[in-house]
């Protein structure tokens, strides 16, 4: 139910003239986009308050459907560009929209250090478990042994846990959900938007066209239900064995720590530097 009273409705962000969008039937990215716009509305944001940085890939097309300040950059580099934007223009809400390839495979180094630095940026990772845009190859989050266009005989590489990686590296807000649990997407994005420091929200999304078709989940609702079956709330993790958790998606809030963001620390550095300059 989208009836929300507030000055700027979520529809002010939606570039309707560019719909229908390019994502495949049943792809979850339209749901993630809508949830983000709901979160913008609930957060009292207007298009001019927001800078959306997108990378390259299916999710990277999201800025085509937005009224906001948008920056479409090279593959894997949305986070460092977002970092520069935020540092130079601190009143803006800066959100980096990245796929699993963008954020954790080619962009993995930036994900680690953006988390460690705890830069005041929101990373919204849409994880469809493969490289959809280029035809369904496996990425670093593709489940072990899955078939893809480049792993016909099974993916030989275990998947990376994006949330654990980001949390371990120092991100102060980390949460994962799936497109099946649609209402939590908006909730977590809302929490991320109001969080001081680096916040990462990962949303696992169905990819019926490639990952689904290669892994007997080609019907959109079928893959959505599969996401539900594969999800384990983080609260229940402690009473489950390693075996039970294999290839499962742990959902929920991994970290929600108050504390120093990069910008709050750097403001202290600027005051020390100014004092030294004045004393010269």
């Amino acid at each position: 139910m989208s009836k929300r009273s507030c000055e700027v409705s979520w529809k002010a962000f939606l570039r309707e003239e560019n719909l229908p969008h390019q994502w495949c039937p049943g792809c979850g990215y339209g749901v993630i986009l809508k949830s983000m716009l709901y979160a913008f509305e609930k957060g009292g944001l207007a298009p001019k308050d927001v800078v959306v940085v997108t990378g390259i890939g299916c999710w990277g097309k999201a800025d085509d459907y937005l009224y906001a300040n948008t920056v479409h950059v090279t593959h894997g580099r949305a986070l460092p560009v977002a970092t520069g934007i935020k540092v130079a223009n601190q009143s803006m809400k800066v959100i980096a929209l990245m796929g699993d390839g963008d954020s954790a495979t080619i962009g993995g180094n930036h994900l680690i250090h953006s988390s460690r630095r705890n830069i005041d940026v929101v990373a919204l990772v849409a994880n469809n478990l493969n490289y959809g845009m280029t035809g369904g190859q496996y990425s670093c989050t593709t489940p072990l042994d899955s078939r893809t266009s480049t792993s016909w005989y099974g993916d030989p590489e275990p998947a990376l846990d994006v949330c654990r990686l980001s949390e371990t590296a120092g991100a102060s807000f980390v949460a994962r959900t799936t497109v099946y649990h649609a209402t939590t997407i908006e909730k977590y994005i809302g929490m991320a938007l109001s969080h001081e420091g680096f916040s990462l929200v990962e949303v696992i999304s169905p990819c019926p066209t490639y990952f689904g078709r290669y892994n007997k989940l080609s019907k959109a609702s079928q893959m959505l239900k599969w996401l539900k079956e594969q999800s384990i709330p983080i609260e229940r993790v402690k009473d489950l064995s390693e075996e039970d958790l294999k290839e499962k998606f742990v959902t929920g809030v991994f970290a929600d720590k108050k504390g120093h963001s990069f910008l709050s620390r750097y403001r202290e550095i600027q005051s020390r530097a100014r004092n030294e300059l004045e004393s010269e």
Partner: protein, 379 residues
């Protein structure tokens, strides 16, 4: 007003020039022989409310510089060969998305890790063609510590004026040289800021260029929503695959530099018009070239020196003009011969062009140039 003169390292003068130009953001990654630029930036920028960001690699550094410029700051980075190679894709992004920024390359002996502490000029063709696709680019090259200061101001002015990256091609000899440098004050120097759109536009098109082929630029947060795009895009900043739009965009990005050569090309002439033998050089080779010319003149040889402060876009028309009637042209470079190719293309065939090349990690000295002068004279 007493001039403020400091005995200063080239790498430090680079930062002071950037500050005078209005830079408030540096993002970089330590690399010999440019680390002193980062060190001074990390100390000076927070003093003026600016920010130094040390990133996880050079790819992140140039990305953060692009972000900061999009965010409204004048931003720069400094690196050397290996980092310069890593930055190429995003330099292409800065070209396509038309984001003003300055990339300092304190060149060192390559290839690969090469001789980290030794000078070279072998990245100069990479500066022109280091990234994929049809495009043009601006590259300046300082030969003295004073030029490290003055040309950095020019680099930022050009970046802001033409909404593009500017490559600042120093090398280890100039970067690690210590000389007197006049720290000019803001009112002594022209500072250019990016062009803004007029108020009250019905709709702001982020990539709609004026007659000077440069689109006005907006800082996010103003009433106009703005867009930046790495893929071929239309005037609204939305992606397009229309051949007409693609051609129009690529031609505009190219022409906005190539059609403004008169404004962009800077050089210094030493007895250029009247000399019989002309030495054409840039950056770290200029000092040796001028000494060699002086010594040759004392031996009665008529030698002049043309120092290119702008290497790209290459001043081909000017060089073909002034080289008419010369008996020989010498191109000293600390590489196996790169700019000499451009010089040969620009010079009438009958004028012999010889390179004076050194690529062993040692700076070029007057001796190498005088030897080649001897060869060309005996031709």
């Amino acid at each position: 007003m007493k001039k403020k003169v400091r005995f200063m390292l080239g790498n430090e003068a680079i930062v002071e020039g950037a500050l005078l130009a209005g830079a408030t953001f540096f993002a970089g990654y330590p690399i010999t022989p440019s680390s002193e630029v980062a060190e001074r930036a990390s100390r000076r920028l927070p003093q003026i409310g600016g920010c130094y960001l040390q990133m996880e690699d050079e790819i992140a550094s140039i990305a953060a510089v692009i972000g900061a410029s999009i965010g409204g700051a004048k931003a720069f980075t400094a690196t050397s060969g290996p980092g310069f190679s890593l930055m190429q894709e995003n330099i292409g992004l800065a070209i396509m998305a038309e984001v003003p920024c300055v990339i300092v390359n304190v060149q060192r002996s390559g290839p690969s890790t090469g001789l980290a502490t030794r000078p070279a000029q072998a990245d100069i063709m990479q500066a022109r063609w280091g990234r994929h696709g049809d495009h043009s680019v601006i590259a300046l090259s300082p030969a003295t510590v004073q030029e490290c200061f003055d040309l950095m101001v020019q680099a930022f002015n050009m970046a802001e004026k033409y909404r593009c990256p500017v490559l600042f091609m120093a090398d280890e000899t100039v970067g690690h040289l210590r000389e007197n440098c006049v720290l000019r004050s803001r009112d002594e120097v022209e500072i250019v800021n990016r062009k803004r759109p007029p108020e009250g536009l019905e709709e702001y098109f982020p990539y709609k260029a004026d007659d000077d082929l440069v689109p006005p630029m907006v800082t996010p947060g103003s009433d106009y929503l703005t867009r930046f795009h790495s893929s071929t895009h239309n005037e609204k900043g939305l992606p397009t695959s229309s051949p007409q739009e693609a051609r129009k965009l690529i031609k505009r990005l190219y022409d906005k530099i190539e059609k403004n050569k008169d404004d962009i090309i800077k050089y210094r002439e030493f007895d250029v018009t009247e000399c019989e033998y002309l030495v054409i050089c840039f950056g770290g080779a200029v000092r040796a070239a001028r000494q060699a010319a002086m010594e040759a003149r004392e031996e009665g040889l008529s030698v002049g020196v043309l120092q290119l402060q702008t290497v790209w876009p290459f001043p081909a028309e000017y060089i073909s003009e002034i080289s008419k009637g010369k008996r020989g042209v010498i191109v000293p470079e600390m590489n196996m011969g790169q700019i000499i190719g451009e010089v040969r293309k620009a010079i009438p065939d009958e004028v012999p062009v010889l390179g004076a090349n050194r690529y062993d990690g040692e700076p070029l000295t007057p001796k190498e140039i005088i030897e080649v002068l001897g060869e060309v004279v005996s031709l």
